[in-house]
Symmetry: C2
Subunit: 218 residues, 2 copies
């Protein structure tokens, strides 16, 4: 079985990707602590998901991101805005080139461990505000990993054409324990229900016609 | 004046790039400690060079590289081979996707600090054994940074067509203090004179017809 590295944040999308990948690859999951407000909650979710799927789990800490980068998503940044993802205010939650950094590190880990592929859960809904979720970014990053490694490590985004609703439907089929996953940008004990990612999460369950197992604080 | 981030290892090439860049940009230098055997010596050289050129200097530590990656260049790896760069044995010194990781982080720092460009001292002699110095890698990485950031951060490699001899000649013209720069993969007090980078350094000064100010242990 080919080896793959799954970039696992602990959110709904990457949890579904993990469950999708374990049927196809010998998986190692990799999670990044880059100092976001919700990293502690995300990491705990990622750890549980890796245990449930019995895959090795690497945690990589990137403290310099919180120290040097500007974003309201970071502990060093301002308030997380409320509202829909498309709102201009959500732009403040972008962590500059975060996905480029995470995918590069994952590509290095892949080359070091003879994994052929890095799997990444970008999806169709991400593109609007995140430049490093755009298809042209993912294509270029994939070319960079392929040409910049001896083994020609691939970066694959199997969900890139799926909507969040599609991912929820796929996740249910695969038995993903959605109640364990964590997404809220505010990082509280309960999902806030108001930030962009909470709004999107609610809408996805509703559009899929499924009961949302998430506990929201409102 | 436009702002640029210079990736400064403390070696001869990036020192020359720094001196070239300060005439053209408002420069911040960025140096990575990724656990190589020669990082301590390199970092000290980088710090001196940043002071001499009076540019702000960021040091970014990436301890996970030494912990998780495989390379003889790392403290966790085996012996550094001796001989010429082209020798197959030198392949063991490649740190998987190192340049992809460093350039991605530099792109994130650039976007966070409104710098338009990341400058990087890949040169013509690098391509043979380092996949992440190949022109096709640099082109793809540059496309990734441009499409993956709001500001369209550029990655530029102004020395990509220069030989090491050309860089030495340019450095002399720019007044680069070559005696401060450090390259040796073994990381000793004196340059070993036998590893790939020492051999290349000697050859470059000799081809340029300049006195090599480096103290070698042989």
């Amino acid at each position: 079985m080919e080896k793959a590295i799954v970039s696992l944040s602990g959110g709904l999308d990457s949890a579904t990707l993990l469950y999708w990948a374990v049927n196809r690859y010998e998986v190692t999951a990799i999670t990044f602590d880059y100092g976001s407000k919700h990293n502690t909650k995300e990491l705990a979710a990622a750890e549980k998901l890796a245990k449930l799927t019995r895959v090795p789990h690497m945690l990589i800490r990137l403290p310099f991101v919180n120290d040097l980068f500007k974003s309201s998503l970071l502990k060093s940044g301002g308030e997380i805005p409320e509202g829909h993802y498309e709102d201009a205010s959500m732009r403040s939650t972008v962590v500059p080139f975060r996905n480029g950094i995470m995918l590069s590190i994952a590509a290095g880990v892949a080359e070091s461990s003879d994994a052929s592929t890095v799997l990444y859960a970008a999806h169709a809904g991400d593109h609007a505000i995140y430049p490093d979720c755009r298809p042209e970014f993912l294509k270029a990053m994939s070319d960079a990993a392929k040409s910049g490694t001896y083994n020609g490590v691939g970066i694959a985004d199997p969900f890139v054409d799926l909507s969040k609703k599609d991912i929820v439907l796929l996740g249910r089929e695969l038995g993903v324990p959605f109640d364990i996953t964590y997404s809220c940008y505010k990082g509280g004990d309960l999902h806030c229900g108001k930030c962009g990612t909470c709004v999107e999460r609610k809408e996805a369950f509703s559009a899929a016609g499924l009961t949302d197992p998430t506990s929201y604080s409102i």
